[in-house]
Subunit: 142 residues, 3 copies
């Protein structure tokens, strides 16, 4: 019998300021609990100064390069009008606009269909540590 | 009884040239009509010179900063080859490539699971007003 | 009778180095095989140095402009730390971070609900030809 189903969990991630947190193991755990054979995993960040990217999981220099290069694309010391929440706040919104609020990953044979070198990262764009909320939703069928 | 369902509506948005239109109230209305408890809301823009972003809904200076900064990332007066439709057309495509053609938002307890400060914006990238078509699709279960 | 269903296919695309491959005809074929009336088509790239964009399908100059402009946003001859796999590898990751790992397109009346001028492109960011794997997943109902 094939009966489509929907599951949802709230994830909390404590970031350490600007940089990447690999959330792939936590997504795999949700997918495993859902017990579906085919479907999709939606990850949604409930913030506008942190975002998602799927990037290489092998060489940590890739993440260091992305962080430094993004600081050049979105400079902190540009004359931003919105600066009430600190000089790093508006650049964080701009970095969020360039990356993703949600990612959607297919599930094949009960597992995330990521490529060998792919990991899903929460990208914190604020300078200081933040507690971030993500909705993870798995849907699909047996 | 849990019976998964799919709903679709076409939204028309009249833009006033470059800038943001908050479409969150219209998405909430579609989600409310669909009457699902858990699921997702897909928004899809049927154009390549307007796009979507989820951004802060509190201080309008955030949107002004995004607009001015995006003009620096994608300059209008670069030597673009494609210029038959005006000098603002090719920059509009590039701005579209950097942002999103679709956004996907989870539905929890019958409501969009957006964060407190998140709104969904249609971002018009052309200089003049345009009529834009968006497909809004809600799927999920009771 | 309305019975939600999920289909999945693996697509292989041989790229010719930096540039765009229009995969819309292959997506239409999968959607046609699935035979659903309403739903969605998810495309997911299983790589971090190639990505997806939905862009204009009419004037090929648009794609040439996007390619040249992206080379300015993400310069190859910046001092990247990660360079073991060649000078084009880290820029390819950065270009991937700015564009999309997945695209999600609604299905209306059994067809992709793309706008008249929209096509779905696989964007190869490496200098040399690569074989790329994409997961295409169609879900929806009669």
């Amino acid at each position: 019998m094939s009966s489509p189903r929907w599951f949802q969990e709230l994830l909390t991630v404590d970031t350490r300021g600007k940089g990447f947190t690999d959330i792939t193991p936590r997504l795999r755990a949700v997918v495993s609990r859902a017990g579906l054979r085919i479907g999709q995993c939606l990850v949604f960040v409930r913030h506008t100064s942190a975002s998602l990217v799927i990037q290489e999981n092998a060489d940590p220099a890739v993440l260091r390069d992305l962080e430094r290069w993004m600081d050049e694309v979105v400079p902190v010391n540009r004359a931003w009008e919105h600066d009430d929440e600190g000089p790093d706040d508006m650049p964080a919104h701009a970095r969020g606009a360039l990356t993703r609020t949600s990612e959607l990953i297919p599930i094949s044979d009960g597992r995330l269909a990521l490529g060998t070198w792919q990991a899903v990262y929460l990208w914190e764009h604020r300078a200081h540590p933040h507690r971030r909320e993500l909705v993870v939703q798995v849907s699909g069928t047996d």
